[in-house]
C-alpha cells in the first residue's frame, strides 16, 4: 500500500517546502521508502532545501514528456537510503504539467514507494490543483495569521471538491492541519492567532505545531531537512508530526502550555472526579 500526501496552503511562503522536506525525511528515517516531488515548476527550490541542486539532470516535466526515465530522474538522498527526490523543472512553466501525465508518473512511483509527498506551489491554479488531484491525504500548512487561515480554508474547500477522490465520490481526502512559524510571544501580544483560534476556524485535526525557529533557516542554508537537526525545536516538532501521521498519539509540544498552576490542577482534578 502506498499513499500520496500533498503539502499545500494557498498562501505563499508559509513553509510548504520546508515541511515537505522534513516530513519526507522523517518518514524515510522511520524506515518507509519515500519520494518527495517538487510541483513548483519554474520556481523549484525543494532541491536546494534537500541539498541536491547540483545533482539535478532530468526533471518531472522530462518524465511526463517521455524525455527521461524515472530511474534516471530520481535523486537518491546521500544521508538517508529510503529517501528520494523528484525535482521540478526550472525552465518550463506550470502548463507543462498535465493531469494525465502526473497520474501516470504517480502510478509508476506507487510501485516502488510507500509514501509520495507532493510539495505544492502557492495559489489555487494549475500547479496547486495538479499537486493535490491524486492525493489520499493533505497536510494544510498554515501560519497563525488571518490571511493564511483564510487561504487554508479556501484550499480545504478545493480539496473537498476538485480532487479525484471528490470527483469520483470516494472517501474524501483526509485532512491535517500543520501550524508553522508559531511564535508564543506574538500569540501572547495578540499579533498572531493562537492554536485554538485557528483550529476553531478551520475545524481540521491538528497534525502539529512547528515553532518559529532559527534552525529552519540554518537547515535550508546547508541543504539539510530540519528534521535531521534532532536537537532543534523545529526538528523535534516535525518528528512528532511524522509520528502522528503514522498514527501514533503524541501530546503537542511548543504550544505554550506551561506547567499548570496549583489552582488549575485542582480544578482539573475535580472535573475528572465528576466525570468518574
Amino acid at each position: 500500500m502506498s499513499e500520496i500526501i500533498v503539502v499545500t496552503s494557498g498562501k505563499g511562503g508559509v513553509g510548504k517546502t520546508t515541511t515537505s522536506a522534513a516530513i519526507a525525511a522523517g518518514l524515510a528515517k522511520q524506515g518507509h521508502k519515500t519520494v518527495v516531488i517538487d510541483f513548483d515548476v519554474g520556481l523549484r527550490n525543494l532541491d536546494i532545501v534537500m541539498g541536491c541542486e547540483r545533482r539535478v539532470v532530468y526533471d518531472f516535466v522530462n518524465i511526463i514528456h517521455g524525455e527521461a526515465a524515472l530511474s534516471q530522474t530520481l535523486i537518491k538522498d546521500k544521508r538517508e537510503p529510503n529517501l528520494f527526490i523528484l525535482p521540478a523543472s526550472q525552465t518550463r512553466d506550470k502548463e507543462a504539467l498535465t493531469l494525465d501525465g502526473v497520474g501516470r508518473v504517480l502510478e509508476e512511483l506507487k510501485q516502488q514507494f510507500s509514501y509520495i509527498i507532493c510539495d505544492s506551489p502557492a495559489g489555487i491554479e494549475t500547479g496547486a490543483l495538479m499537486a493535490m488531484y491524486y492525493a489520499d491525504r493533505a497536510i494544510v500548512v498554515t501560519n497563525p495569521e488571518v490571511s493564511s487561515v483564510r487561504d487554508s480554508d479556501r484550499i480545504l474547500g478545493i480539496l473537498a471538491s476538485k480532487t479525484r477522490r471528490a470527483e469520483q465520490g470516494e472517501t474524501p481526502i483526509s485532512e491535517h492541519l500543520l501550524l508553522t512559524r508559531y511564535s508564543l510571544e506574538r500569540v501572547a501580544t495578540g499579533e498572531m492567532l493562537s492554536v485554538q483560534d485557528v483550529q476553531e476556524i478551520l475545524a481540521v485535526p491538528l497534525l502539529g505545531v512547528i515553532p518559529e525557529s532559527k534552525a529552519v533557516l540554518r537547515a535550508s542554508n546547508t541543504g539539510t531537512p530540519v528534521i535531521f537537526d534532532e536537537t532543534s525545536d523545529a526538528g523535534q516538532a516535525y518528528s512528532d508530526a511524522v509520528e502522528r501521521l503514522l498514527g501514533k498519539d503524541k501530546p503537542h509540544r511548543f504550544i505554550g502550555e506551561k506547567k499548570k498552576g496549583l489552582f488549575r490542577r485542582l480544578f482539573d482534578r475535580s472535573k475528572e472526579e465528576q466525570l468518574a
Binding site: 480554508d153 479556501r154 480545504l156 474547500g157 473537498a160 471538491s161 476553531e200 476556524i201
Partner: protein, 234 residues
C-alpha cells in the same frame, strides 16, 4: 417512415418573478446590484419573469429592451412579462419578451388557472438538504425548495441559500440567505452567530449590525412586520 425530430409537451416550472414596483431604471439597477452581490452564483442563468401589476398605471413607457439588457448583464435570463397593460405588453413583445398568463388578478382568471398558479407558487415539500462537513470560503450551498441543515462550521466567504429555513448547529461566519424565493416565514437558526450577512426573503443585515450579538449564545433570525429581528434562543 421518418421519426419526428421533436415532440412538444406542456410542463410546469417554478420561475423567479421580479415584481416591478417602479419604472425608474436607476433604482432598479441599484437594487439588482445589491442583490447579485449578496448571492452572486444564485442569479447566474436564472430565468426571470417580470410582473407589471404594480406599474400598470405608471405614466411613461418602460424601456423593456434596456430592462432585459440590465438583467442579462447580471447573469439572469429574462423570459417574459405578466400583468402588464396592453401598451406595456406590446412594448414587451417588441423587446422579445414572452407574455405569460395574468393569473394573479381574480377578475381575469379562469377557474383552471388559479389551480395551476397555486400549485406552482406553493413550496414543494422537498426533504431538507443536510450537510455534515464544514462549508469553506468560496463554497456555496443551495437548498432548493426546502430547508438547509448544517452541522459543521460555515466559514467566512461561504454562502448558504435556502428556499426554506436554515439551521446551523455550529458557527456561522459566512452568509446565510433564507426564504430566497420570498418566503417571509423562513428563519435562520444558529449555534454561534458571527455572520457576514443574514437575509430573509430579501431583507438583509450585514456585519456591523450583527456584531452586537453575543457569539456564544444560539440565536434565531426572523422577519416581523418587514423588519429583520435577531433574538437569543433558550
Amino acid at each position: 417512415m421518418a421519426t419526428d425530430a421533436f415532440q412538444l409537451k406542456g410542463s410546469l416550472f417554478t420561475l423567479t418573478v421580479l415584481q416591478l414596483h417602479q419604472a425608474d431604471m436607476d433604482s432598479l439597477t441599484h437594487q439588482l446590484d445589491r442583490l447579485v452581490q449578496q448571492a452572486p452564483k444564485f442569479f447566474q442563468h436564472t430565468p426571470v419573469v417580470i410582473d407589471l401589476q404594480a406599474v400598470q398605471q405608471v405614466n411613461g413607457a418602460i424601456d423593456f429592451a434596456q430592462l432585459a439588457d440590465q438583467l442579462r448583464q447580471r447573469g439572469m435570463i429574462p423570459v417574459g412579462v405578466r400583468n402588464g397593460s396592453t401598451a406595456q405588453q406590446q412594448a414587451a413583445i417588441a423587446a422579445k419578451f414572452a407574455i405569460l398568463n395574468a393569473t394573479t388578478s381574480k377578475a381575469e382568471s379562469h377557474p383552471g388557472d388559479t389551480a395551476v398558479e397555486s400549485s406552482v407558487t406553493s413550496m414543494p415539500n422537498k426533504p431538507s438538504l443536510m450537510i455534515h462537513k464544514p462549508i469553506r470560503s468560496g463554497q456555496q450551498v443551495y437548498a432548493q425548495g426546502g430547508d438547509l441543515i448544517v452541522t459543521a462550521p460555515v466559514s467566512q466567504g461561504a454562502e448558504l441559500l435556502a428556499d426554506g429555513n436554515i439551521h446551523i448547529y455550529a458557527a456561522l461566519r459566512g452568509r446565510a440567505l433564507a426564504g430566497i424565493q420570498g418566503d417571509s416565514q423562513a428563519r435562520i437558526f444558529c449555534q454561534h452567530l458571527a455572520a457576514e450577512l443574514v437575509s430573509i426573503a430579501g431583507h438583509y443585515m450585514v456585519n456591523e449590525a450583527l456584531q452586537q450579538v453575543s457569539y456564544n449564545k444560539p440565536h434565531q433570525i426572523y422577519l416581523a412586520a418587514d423588519k429583520l429581528l435577531i433574538s437569543p434562543l433558550g
